[in-house]
Amino acid sequence: MGETGGGSPAPYNYPRFDDYVASGEDRADEAAFWASPRAGQRAPDLTLTRLGDGGGVRLSDLWRSRPVVLEFGSFT
């Protein structure tokens, strides 16, 4: 495990939470949130997979006719 705030960047799918914090990636991810589009700007239009049927969903197809709430998460 590296020093606090040092070390090499953890991969996106990091295997260990303590290594992720030790590498300073948690702070980098907070910075990424603030660097992401602000209120009033265009939202990134990307494609996700629908868990129900495996089909692709383009976000702009969702927000074309109504507002969309996107909650991001995992088990924890």
Binding site: M1, T4, G5, Y12, N13, Y14, P15, R16, F17, D18, D19, Y20, V21, A22, D29, E30, A32, F33, W34, A35, S36, P37, R38, A39, G40, Q41, R42, A43, P44, D45, L46, L48, T49, R50, L51, G52, V57, L59, S60, L62, W63, R64, S65, R66, P67, V68, V69, L70, E71, F72, G73, S74, F75, T76
Partner: protein, 147 residues
């Protein structure tokens, strides 16, 4: 919509994703265990959508009709989102003779009260390693606070 990203606290029972099949399997397990009724959308293995929207583990974004960011929060408070939607939709739908709504932006902080017991239960569900690594991370955060 619920966007399934990466496991924030991987452990023996719910590990980090090594393949898209892993990721889809974890998303199904989450749906079956928690009974999330909303549609679940799964990001790519590399986290393309998660990266574009800011990489925090429990964010909520509201995108207005047409694709403008209306709300973004680095932590999800259902009550806060609902209150925002009520104000936002109400203002957009309101008709006042002789004027029209003009959008403006705010930035503010809010407070939350973590449910520590529930969080620790979720960590334990992921596995003992997830609990131990979170405890180590707390020590690292404490070290940072003193340097």
């Amino acid at each position: 919509m619920f966007v399934y990203t990466r496991e924030a606290h991987p452990g023996e029972n719910v590990a980090h994703h090594a393949s898209i099949e892993d990721k889809l399997a974890c998303a199904r397990m989450l749906r079956n265990e928690t009974g999330i009724g909303r549609e679940i959308l799964v990001d790519e293995l590399a986290g393309t959508v998660h990266r574009a929207y800011g990489l925090m583990p429990n964010m909520t974004w509201v995108i207005a009709r047409g694709g403008t960011v209306a709300y973004k929060a680095d932590w999800t408070s259902a009550a806060n989102v609902e209150a925002f939607l009520e104000r936002f939709m109400g203002a957009r739908g309101e008709h006042r003779p002789g004027t029209a709504p003009v959008m403006y932006a705010t930035q503010q902080v809010e407070f939350r009260y973590p449910d520590r017991k529930r969080f620790m239960q979720r960590l334990a569900r992921n596995g003992p390693r997830a609990v131990a690594e979170f405890e180590k991370a707390q020590q690292l955060w404490a070290q940072r606070a003193t340097t």
